[in-house]
């Protein structure tokens, strides 16, 4: 709007001088790039079933290729996808114009990427459910493998082991992780210590789970001597994996609590620690709870660290401080890697354990959402 020789000082004749000035090059450029009129940009649009029709065409082409020629299925699928998208985009180009065709093209790509991303998930769920249902029975949930040699038995001992060991891991990780996050957000600020902690948390996030297991094994070997296998060793290993996740989740939740809530609490004469306990944490509670539950779900299915720390046993052990414990992932691993006779009984138990782990994780994730909604601040 300002002319080139305008120095930015306030002058009396300033309002309205820029746009109409003949020697303003900016205005000249703008006239050349006037947007098209609304009437000119009107166009017809493809019918709603166009997308479905194009997909059907792609599937048809792929099926025909497989039936008639002897090309590989994967290649036929690719050709079918290309043909379907091309037909869709060309039709859109003819009927709707260039901009709409670009939109259709990107929409098609995004949709296909979504389907490709979904395939492994659907495949895993399908395989696990179809093979795991064979032993999804009462005995599986009520019996251990004590005195079971071939068929029968169950994973009661492993289910209890998984619940106890992840439970103890949660009891260790949540206080440590939450307090660390509170230090980072409320007290540390930008100081050296909090930078070091943040860096270490980042490193911890990336360590392989077997290293966590070996750490716990080494720690307990140092203290108790060699040869121990305890549930609590597994809990410590899982905590090493869980703490960084909890720190990260809680830290993020605390950071989004508005500073003005802390200020209004201070202004009421409330000390800092009470402000954190009674204003900041309750406001962030919903996010913290769901972050913790998701962290639990993350470590529940860990196999390697538990393999080296808790071992396996056939009978039920409720005491994490005494003797070996069975957990679902390790149980599934041994069932499938060292089957007895008949082998199918062992393989079935392994699949049902896998199915159960998926269900646990699913229930935890749904639980996290329910919990988050229940704890979220309400407005009505």
């Amino acid at each position: 709007m300002s002319s080139p020789n305008d120095t930015g000082t306030r002058t009396e004749d300033r309002p309205g001088d820029g746009r109409t000035s003949p020697e303003d090059p900016g205005a000249a450029v703008l006239t050349r790039y006037q947007p098209p009129s609304l009437a000119a940009s009107m166009h017809a649009s493809l019918p709603r079933w166009a997308g479905a029709a194009a997909s059907a065409l792609g599937v048809l082409v792929a099926a025909a290729l497989v039936a008639v020629t002897d090309v590989h299925v994967a290649l036929a699928v690719v050709v079918g996808a290309v043909v379907g998208v091309a037909a869709f985009v060309v039709a859109s180009r003819v009927v709707e114009g260039e901009r709409a065709a670009t939109d259709r093209f990107v929409t098609a790509l995004v949709t296909m990427a979504f389907v490709v991303a979904l395939l492994p998930l659907v495949s895993v769920v399908w395989t696990t459910v179809s093979r795991g249902l064979a032993r999804f029975d009462g005995a599986f949930f009520t019996q251990s493998m004590y005195n079971v040699i071939g068929e029968g038995g169950g994973a009661y001992h492993a289910i209890m082991g998984t619940l106890i060991i992840t439970g103890v891991a949660t009891l260790i990780s949540v206080p440590i992780g939450t307090l660390t996050a509170i230090y980072l957000v409320e007290y540390g600020g930008d100081n050296r210590l909090s930078k070091v902690i943040t860096f270490l948390v980042d490193v911890m996030t990336g360590i392989p789970s077997i290293v966590a297991g070996l750490f716990s094994l080494a720690l307990f070997t140092l203290v108790l001597g060699p040869g121990y296998r305890l549930g609590v060793m597994g809990s410590v290993a899982l905590s090493v994996l869980m703490i960084p996740i909890v720190v990260r989740a809680v830290e993020e939740m605390l950071r989004i609590v508005p500073a003005r809530l802390r200020e209004s609490s201070y202004a009421l004469g409330v000390p800092k620690w009470l402000t954190i306990v009674k204003v900041v944490l309750p406001t962030a509670a919903s996010g913290i709870a769901s972050g913790v539950v998701i962290a639990i779900a993350r470590v529940m299915g860990e196999t390697a660290p538990l393999l080296v720390t808790v071992g396996l046993t056939a009978s039920t052990n409720f005491n994490p401080f005494e003797g070996r414990m069975a957990v679902l992932p390790v149980f599934a691993y041994y069932q499938i890697i060292t089957p007895g006779i008949p082998p199918q009984a062992f393989i079935d138990r392994a699949w049902t354990s896998a199915l159960l782990l998926i269900l646990f994780v699913m229930v935890l994730n749904v639980g996290a959402r329910v919990l988050a909604r229940a704890l979220a601040p309400k407005t009505r």
Partner: protein
């Protein structure tokens, strides 16, 4: 419950940056003192230094004296938390606690400090404070609803109720109406007229009509340029500031011919 504040030679720093320089003023009890001035002149910083709220920002400190009721707020051994209990504050944006009901928001100052009240006492405090904030009639039948569900003007009056429920001696208000519509603004201004019978009120405002309507005395802050400290240019009875100020800059500012 209202007390006089005497500020003498107050310098306010953020780290090594001098934000407000050499302010000396006398804030009279049971009156409304308005602080006006252009953006960035340090009037909010000055207001926050009156209950040591500016210390929330790392590196903030003051030199000089703020004396409330014979006691220097910045004297050795004075706890900022105790200062804030006797000098309450209302902020620009209404900020009721989102996890609390209207009832609990009013009691927040006591509840958050782990003070135990009998149910009947708590009820009495809530009603007294909400009546004091002119909000009782509107919310008396929905005290258990979340405070965040009220309108902006009601939320601000809820924050005032929350501030007076802890019985401060002084009430600081930092542009309390700038996020509100004219009707809610009028409600808050009426309320200030009521509150000054009991409290010493200091208000920062960008709205000069508001300053002239509600305040007894007005202080004009100004800044010479970016990076320079803000200063108290002039302070006098509101009528004098708006009709016959002694400094040219004040006259330019209050008449809208500025900068």
């Amino acid at each position: 419950m209202s007390r006089q504040i005497d500020v003498s030679d107050l310098d306010i720093y953020y780290g090594s940056f001098l934000a407000v320089e050499k302010v000396t003023m006398e804030i009279k009890p049971r009156s409304i003192t308005a602080l006006i001035g252009p953006s960035g002149c340090g009037k909010s910083t000055f207001l926050r230094s009156l209950n040591r709220m500016h210390e929330v920002i790392p590196g903030a400190r003051v030199e000089g004296k703020v004396v409330l009721d014979g006691q220097d707020l910045y004297g050795p051994g004075v706890d900022p938390v105790a200062v804030r209990r006797s000098v309450g504050m209302v902020f620009q944006n209404p900020n009721p606690f989102p996890t609390m009901s209207i009832y609990d928001n009013v009691l927040a100052g006591m509840r958050l400090n782990n003070k135990r009240l009998k149910r009947s006492e708590a009820d009495a405090v809530v009603e007294h404070s909400l009546r004091g904030a002119n909000l009782w009639k509107e919310v008396q039948d929905r005290l258990d609803r979340p405070g965040a569900g009220l309108s902006g003007g009601q939320q601000q009056r809820l924050c005032i109720a929350r501030a007076i429920a802890v019985q401060p001696q002084v009430l600081l208000m930092d542009e309390p109406c700038s996020a509100l519509d004219p009707i809610s603004t009028l409600a808050i201004e009426d309320l200030m007229g009521e509150l000054k019978k009991e409290y010493t009120i200091v208000i920062v405002t960008h709205n000069m009509q508001q300053a002239s309507r509600v305040s007894d005395r007005t202080g004009f802050f100004n800044i010479e340029g970016t990076g320079k400290p803000g200063k108290l240019v002039e302070m006098d009875a509101t009528d004098t500031i708006f009709s016959n100020p002694s400094v040219k800059a004040t006259e330019d500012y209050v008449s809208g011919r500025f900068g």
